[in-house]
């Protein structure tokens, strides 16, 4: 295979890390549980489910417009209770962000099923420090 056009800029070996992360330019939380190409299955304005390009199984999701969700609910409203105090929020629950995103849209059976399908994998946290917009 031809050399990757960005290879010379990278250091170390590539690695797969199945943890959610915040993309400040895209203002979205990304979570992939398998290192496979995905086909986007757009549920609504805020949630996209990632389906494996290999066998169509769901292997992750993207939650968009995270800053709008934070503005509406506040970091305290999205915090993991054991990791927050009155002054500071150390980390937020991705599952709570997902629930907050669900509340932004009209209730429907298809949306409820889609959000429920990624709720278990979403039982992760993300550092509040990482949630800084650009």
């Amino acid at each position: 295979m031809e050399k990757h056009f960005l290879q010379d800029l990278m250091e170390g070996e590539p690695e797969f890390t199945p943890e959610p992360w915040y993309n400040p330019v895209g203002d979205c939380i990304i979570y992939k549980m398998a290192d496979e190409a995905v086909v986007a299955d757009r549920v609504d304005e805020l949630l996209t489910i990632y389906r494996s390009a290999v066998d169509q199984r769901p292997i992750g999701f993207k939650i968009k417009d995270v800053q709008a969700i934070i503005r509406r609910f506040g970091l305290q409203g999205l915090a993991v209770s054991s990791e927050a105090d009155v002054q500071s929020v150390k980390s937020i629950s991705v599952a709570v962000v997902l629930l907050a995103a669900y509340e932004e849209g009209r209730p429907s059976v298809s949306r409820r099923k889609a959000y429920a399908s990624v709720m278990c994998p979403a039982e992760k946290t993300i550092s509040a420090e990482d949630l800084q917009p650009v």
């Binding site: 990757h4 943890e19 390009a53």
Partner: protein, 139 residues
């Protein structure tokens, strides 16, 4: 930190005019390298799309004004491990998303629209407007 690499692409503000540089943020490419090597590999497909654009859409988010979606159809992409390349699936497009300053921040394969094989499904409701079609792409 390394300089952010750039690629020449169609200027969405003046599609028939001179090309402009789109930026692949170094931090983002590094993040893909360290979290999802397959996605890093598929930056090759992103490069292909930016150099062979089929459609350009503007206003890509409800809560954030501006931004661009460029679509195209790479011939091949990587689906598993870094070395397993296969033909890009039929009836799909690769959508590359950029902020108003033409910084790439995301890409994804999406089902193609039934009314246009070069546009993502439901493009009429998802974006502000289709602003440019390649004359060499399928219609």
């Amino acid at each position: 930190m390394a300089k952010d690499p750039t690629l020449w692409t169609v200027n969405p503000e003046d599609p028939e005019g001179s090309k402009v540089e789109a930026t692949i943020p170094f931090w983002w490419a590094s993040k893909l390298y360290k979290t999802s090597p397959v996605d890093f590999e598929n930056l090759r497909a992103v490069k292909f799309v930016l150099e062979n654009v089929d459609r350009i859409f503007r206003d890509i988010r409800e809560f954030n004004k501006g931004g661009w979606c460029f679509t195209g159809r790479p011939e091949r992409w990587c689906i598993r491990n870094e070395s397993i390349e296969v033909p890009f699936p039929p009836e799909h497009v690769l959508a590359v998303y950029m902020n108003p300053r033409l910084w790439v921040f995301d890409f994804q394969a999406e089902r193609a629209s039934p009314d246009d094989p070069c546009s993502p499904v439901d493009w009429q409701n998802r974006y502000g407007a289709l602003i440019w079609k390649s004359t060499s792409s399928k219609t």
